[in-house]
C-alpha cells in the first residue's frame, strides 16, 4: 500500500493494462490522470501511442479508430468533454468497440462548474456504455483493470466507463494497493478481437442499417448488456480471487440485514454514508456499482425487507426528478409495491455533502416510515437565502 493521489492510482492501473493507444483531452478534474500517463510515456515506463488531440470529440474518435484496428484504447474525460463526445459515445457502443474510459464526474455547464456531481455520466445512461460507479480510490484503480476484462469479453464487446467523482476521488491522496504488472498480466489477457480492420481480411466497419435491420442491431446491444450483467459479476469474483479485493458485483449491500431504512446510492458519497450509518440502527446502504446494465433483479432482492428507501444522488433530470430515483422505482414497480420511496438530490456542482446531510436524510426517512409527511423528492443542502 502506498499513499497516492486518486488520479495517479487510476493512471497506474491503466498503465498496467498495457493500452496501445491513449487519447484524451485535458479537462479539470480529469487532467492529473492524463498527465500522469503522459509522464509514464515521457519516462519510457509505458510504451504506447499517446495522441494529444484537439478536442474530446477527437479523443474518442481516435480511440474508436484505434480500437477498430485491434488496439486496446483508453480515454478519459468529464462533463463538458463527455458532452462534446456524445455522438461518438453512441457510435462506439453501436460499433461494439470495447473502449474503456475513466469518466470523472463533474457538473454540467451552465453555469460552468468544475466541481463534482454526476449529471454528466447520468446523462450518458442511454449511450450503450457500461457504467461502473466507484466508491473510493482503490475501487477506481481496480475497476479500470476489471473494466477491460468486461468490455473486451467476447460475450460483451461494449465500451465501458468507470465513473469516479471528480476531485473527491481524483484529487485525494490515500493509501492504495497499486497492482503489479505481473498480476495484471495474469488477470487480463491481451485484446484479441474477432473482427478488426486489416488488409488481410478487408472488412467494412460502420455500415448503415435500413429499417429492416436496424432494430435487431439495437436488440443485440440490449442482449450484450444482459450478458454484461453476468460478466461483471464473474469478473468481480475473479478479481477478488486474484487480488483479494471485492466490491460486489452489480450492487453491494452494507448493513442491510434487518435494515428498515436503506440508503441507495453510488459513488464516493458512500464513504461518508458508511461513517454515519455505522452509528445508526436499522439503516443500511445499497450501493449501485453497475448503473448500466441496471441491476433490476438484484435491487429487488436487496430491498425486499426494507420499509423506506432513500435514493441519494448528485443529479436530476430537469423537469422530473433524480435519475437513479426514477430508475429504482421503475425497477420495483410490478414487484415490490409497498416501499416508501424517497429521493434526495445532494452535492450538485461541488456542494459538499456532510455527515449532517446524511443524518437529515435518515431523519426524513424515519419520519416517512412513521407516516410523517415529507416530499417524495427533494434537494438537500440548498442555501435558501440565495433563492
Amino acid at each position: 500500500m502506498q499513499v497516492v493521489e486518486g488520479s495517479y492510482a487510476i493512471a497506474h492501473a491503466v498503465k498496467r493494462c498495457r493500452p496501445d493507444v491513449i487519447s484524451a483531452y485535458p479537462i479539470t478534474p480529469q487532467t492529473h490522470i492524463v498527465e500522469d500517463l503522459a509522464q509514464f510515456v515521457a519516462d519510457g515506463e509505458l510504451e504506447c501511442e499517446f495522441v494529444p488531440v484537439d478536442s474530446e470529440h477527437s479523443a474518442m474518435s481516435v480511440a474508436l479508430g484505434a480500437s477498430a484496428v485491434g488496439a486496446r484504447a483508453y480515454s478519459a474525460s468529464t462533463s463538458q468533454g463527455l458532452a462534446l463526445m456524445w455522438e461518438v459515445l453512441y457510435n462506439v457502443s453501436g460499433m461494439r468497440l470495447p473502449v474503456v474510459m475513466t469518466a470523472v464526474n463533474r457538473a454540467m455547464s451552465a453555469p460552468l462548474s468544475i466541481w463534482n456531481d454526476q449529471q454528466d455520466t447520468i446523462g450518458a445512461r442511454d449511450s450503450g456504455w457500461i457504467q461502473i460507479y466507484v466508491e473510493d480510490i482503490q475501487e477506481a484503480h481496480d475497476a479500470m483493470i476489471q473494466g477491460y476484462k468486461i468490455a473486451e469479453s467476447k460475450d460483451v464487446m461494449l465500451p465501458l466507463m468507470v465513473c469516479a467523482d471528480g476531485f473527491i476521488l481524483t484529487h485525494t491522496y490515500e493509501p492504495v494497493v497499486l497492482a503489479e504488472q505481473i498480476e495484471v498480466d495474469d488477470f487480463l489477457p491481451p485484446y484479441e478481437p474477432e473482427y478488426f480492420l486489416s488488409v488481410d481480411n478487408p472488412l467494412s466497419f460502420g455500415c448503415f442499417a435500413e429499417p429492416d435491420k436496424y432494430m435487431e442491431f439495437r436488440y443485440m446491444q440490449h442482449e450484450a448488456m444482459d450478458r454484461a450483467r453476468i460478466k461483471i459479476k464473474e469478473v468481480a469474483d475473479e478479481f477478488g480471487k486474484a487480488f483479494g479485493r471485492y466490491y460486489g458485483g452489480l450492487i453491494e449491500g452494507y448493513n442491510l440485514d434487518g435494515a428498515e431504512i436503506v440508503l441507495l446510492t453510488f459513488g464516493s458519497i458512500i464513504g461518508t454514508i458508511k461513517e454515519v450509518v455505522d452509528r445508526e440502527k436499522n439503516v443500511g446502504i445499497l450501493k449501485i456499482r453497475s448503473y448500466r446494465p441496471f441491476p433490476l433483479v438484484e435491487i429487488r432482492d436487496a430491498l425486499k425487507d426494507a420499509k423506506v428507501v432513500a435514493v441519494i444522488e448528485k443529479d436530476f433530470s430537469a423537469g422530473f426528478e433524480g435519475a437513479l430515483f426514477t430508475d429504482v422505482k421503475a425497477a420495483l414497480y410490478n414487484h415490490i409495491n409497498d416501499l416508501k420511496m424517497l429521493g434526495f438530490v445532494v452535492g450538485l456542482g461541488g456542494r459538499d455533502v456532510r455527515a449532517d446531510d446524511i443524518l437529515e436524510i435518515i431523519k426524513r426517512s424515519k419520519s416517512a416510515m412513521d407516516g410523517g409527511i415529507t416530499d417524495e423528492w427533494q434537494f438537500i443542502g440548498l442555501r435558501g437565502e440565495l433563492l
Binding site: 495522441v51 488531440v53 479508430g65 477498430a68 466497419f205 448503415f208
Partner: protein, 296 residues
C-alpha cells in the same frame, strides 16, 4: 483494373465521386486503410450487409474522419503493423471543410501519416444539395437557393489547399476527376509522402449540379479549362506542376452546362455575378500562371 471499389454501389448513374474512388484505389492498391465520413460516398457504398469496399474501410461519423484516421494510424503504429498499409481518408467537402474542419486541422498538426482526399462536389449532396463552404458563388443550393431576392450562394469557396499548406504539409495538391492520370499520379505521391498529405479533388455530382449524367467528365474538364479549378501541387510550400492552358475558356462555358447556375443567365444581377466569377478565374490564372504564353 483492380476493382477495389466493387460494382453494385448505389451512387446515381454518372456520379463523379464513384469515378474518383475507383481511380484512387487503383492508384493506392490494396494495402490501404480507408476512412470515410458520412456522406454520399458512405451511403452509396455501405448498406449493411453490402459494402463496395475491397480494402479495409470504416465509417464512423460525419465530422470525425480525420480523427478516426489518426486513431487507425496510431493503432497500427502501436501494434507494430505500420507496414501493413497506408491510411487514407476520403471525405466530401462538407465532411472535410465544414463539420470536419477541426478534426482535420488537428490531424494535420499532429503530423499523422495519413493522406486525406476531399472529393469536392461543392455541396451537401447526400442530404439534398445544401450549401457547404465549398459551394461556389452564384450556385443555387437548397439552403442558399436562388429566389426573388437572392442569386444563390454569396461566399467564395474556402481555399482548402492554402489552408492545408498553411498547416505546413509537405504534399498538397488539387486534382480533378476529369483528369484521371493526373489524379492517380497525385494520389500515389500523396500516399508515398511521409506524414500528412492532402488532395483537394473536384468531383461533379450530376444530380446536384444538374447536368446530364453523361457529361460528368466533360463538365469537370471545363472547370479546369476555364481556370476555375486550377490543377497544381504544392510541395514543401512551393507551387509546382501547374497545369497550364493553351486557351482558357470563358467561365460561361462551364456555368451554362449546369442547372445550378441557370438562374444567372436570366437577370442582370446574374450577369454581374458571372462577371465576378470570370474575375475569379482571371485571378486564378494570374496567381498560378495558368495561361500558356503563346510566345513561349
Amino acid at each position: 483494373m483492380k476493382n477495389l471499389f466493387a460494382s453494385g454501389h448505389r451512387a446515381c448513374g454518372g456520379c463523379g465521386m464513384a469515378i474518383a474512388i475507383k481511380l484512387i484505389l487503383e492508384a493506392t492498391g490494396e494495402n490501404v486503410f480507408v476512412v470515410s465520413p458520412t456522406g454520399c460516398l458512405e451511403i452509396v457504398s455501405s448498406p449493411y450487409p453490402e459494402t463496395s469496399w475491397r480494402v479495409p474501410w470504416i465509417h464512423s461519423l460525419f465530422e470525425n474522419a480525420a480523427s478516426v484516421a489518426s486513431g487507425i494510424e496510431a493503432g497500427l503504429k502501436a501494434l507494430g503493423r505500420k507496414d501493413e498499409g497506408k491510411v487514407l481518408a476520403i471525405g466530401g467537402d462538407g465532411g472535410t471543410a465544414d463539420i470536419g474542419m477541426g478534426a482535420l486541422s488537428g490531424m494535420f498538426e499532429r503530423g499523422h501519416d495519413v493522406t486525406y482526399i476531399c472529393y469536392d462536389n461543392e455541396a451537401y449532396m447526400n442530404t439534398g444539395v445544401q450549401r457547404s463552404s465549398m459551394t461556389p458563388i452564384g450556385a443555387s443550393a437548397t439552403t442558399t437557393p436562388a429566389g426573388k431576392v437572392s442569386y444563390g450562394e454569396i461566399h467564395p469557396k474556402k481555399d482548402l489547399v492554402s489552408i492545408a499548406v498553411a498547416h505546413g504539409l509537405g504534399y498538397v495538391a488539387s486534382a480533378s476527376v476529369g483528369y484521371a492520370a493526373d489524379l492517380m499520379d497525385k494520389v500515389k505521391k500523396a500516399v508515398d509522402h511521409d506524414g500528412p498529405s492532402f488532395i483537394h479533388l473536384h468531383s461533379s455530382c450530376c444530380t446536384g449540379w444538374r447536368h446530364p449524367s453523361s457529361k460528368t467528365v466533360e463538365v469537370m474538364r471545363l472547370a479546369v479549362l476555364t481556370g476555375l479549378w486550377p490543377l497544381y501541387e504544392v510541395v514543401d510550400g512551393e507551387v509546382v506542376n501547374v497545369k497550364r492552358l493553351a486557351k482558357r475558356l470563358p467561365v460561361e462555358d462551364y456555368l451554362k452546362t449546369q442547372g445550378r447556375f441557370s438562374h444567372l443567365f436570366k437577370t442582370d444581377e446574374g450577369a454581374e455575378v458571372i462577371r465576378q466569377i470570370q474575375a475569379m478565374a482571371d485571378a486564378n490564372a494570374e496567381q498560378y500562371g495558368l495561361d500558356l504564353d503563346i510566345e513561349e
